[in-house]
């Protein structure tokens, strides 16, 4: 099985080196850094360390970055593509569990979930997560315990969907789309760290916009996906 880790990075000069070294040391898989036209020295750091990098000349957001990673995976015939954050929140030692679960259960998507065996803490962030879990359950009848997790493994079939359909985001609404396409989703317990440096894609004020977008997308767009289109 050929496995590729897609590491999207935007203004991560302080985190990217550590993240990629973690991947190199703790896994045997290939990786590619997708530099989304960072304003800081992310590109220079990657070049200095000779990391395998796709560097975008225009900033286009996370969705485009993941799609580019998927295109790369598709072109180079990878069987599994794993989305892996470049901000140091994800630990490479858990990636193996995702791949093993996927091989064992023959599922199409495996999510590195924080809440399979552990309970969700009570906070505003987790309330958002709970609401999304509920929306996914109501539309598909399946319980995804950690829908916002950024660590996900996709098989060849899912990679193809990402390459063909540019509207697929690396977000919870895509899970609904995939479930409606009758694809199997599994969750594996992982642990995540808090980010050390830099800013997240999801700034506090943006999270309200994010939730509204997700709900509209899940209820009005993804929920009426049919299996064969």
């Amino acid at each position: 099985m050929k496995v590729l880790l897609i590491i999207p990075a935007y203004n991560e000069e302080q985190n990217i080196e550590k993240t990629v070294n973690d991947v190199i040391q703790n896994t045997d898989y290939d990786y590619v850094v997708v530099n989304d036209c960072s304003k800081d020295k992310t590109k220079e750091v990657c070049e200095k360390n000779n990391f395998n990098m796709l560097s975008l000349p225009i900033n286009f957001g996370l969705t485009s970055g993941i799609q580019l990673g998927m295109k790369y995976a598709y072109k180079n015939n990878y069987d599994i593509a794993i989305q892996f954050d470049g901000d140091g929140q994800h630990q490479a030692k858990y990636v193996k569990n995702l791949v093993e679960e996927m091989e064992k259960t023959k599922s199409d998507i495996v999510i590195g979930s924080r809440f399979v065996t552990k309970k969700k803490p009570h906070s505003l962030r987790m309330l958002g997560s709970k609401l999304l879990t509920m929306a996914i359950f109501l539309t598909t009848g399946k319980k995804i315990k950690d829908p916002t997790s950024g660590m996900r493994a996709y098989n060849r079939k899912a990679i193809e969907l990402f390459v063909r359909n540019a509207s697929l985001t690396p977000e919870p609404d895509t899970l609904v789309y995939m479930l409606k396409k009758k694809m199997a989703i599994k969750e594996v317990q992982v642990e995540m760290k808090d980010r050390e440096f830099g800013e997240s894609y999801l700034k506090p004020l943006k999270s309200i916009e994010y939730m509204i977008n997700m709900f509209f997308s899940i209820i009005f767009i993804r929920a009426i996906t049919r299996k064969n289109i």
């Binding site: 560097s55 975008l56 000349p57 225009i58 286009f60 580019l68 295109k71 790369y72």
Partner: protein, 113 residues
């Protein structure tokens, strides 16, 4: 509709119509992009000339004043235009994104040679 309003509408749409044609001649506007604007101008001119038809329709549809019907038509027209442009912007966005991806993939290929 009052005579003044009809005259203003006719003059306004005529100016807009000829501006459109002039821009096309100067090759600043594509023909396909301007057709919709010319159609809009023509509708306005027709509505001002045949105002009795507009009055008849607005009475049948229950408008308080015929001019409201003219405004509604124009708002509808503008909404359609806006939607068309929205789609066009999305298409352009997609194209730029694909180009963006293409450059990144090419650059990666060159570096790994």
């Amino acid at each position: 509709m009052t005579i003044t309003l009809r005259v203003i509408l006719i003059i306004g749409s005529l100016i807009a119509f000829f501006l459109c044609v002039k821009r096309i001649k100067q090759a600043k506007l594509k023909v396909s992009n301007s057709v919709m604007w010319m159609v809009g101008c023509l509708i306005l001119i027709l509505m001002s000339i045949f105002s009795n038809v507009v009055e008849w329709i607005s009475v049948k549809l229950g408008f308080i004043a015929p001019v409201n019907f003219v405004f509604l038509t124009m708002i509808g027209f503008l909404l359609i235009q806006m939607f068309i442009y929205n789609i066009r912007i999305s298409e352009l966005n997609e194209k730029i994104k694909d180009l963006n991806h293409y450059i990144a993939l090419k650059e990666n290929e060159e570096r790994n040679k």
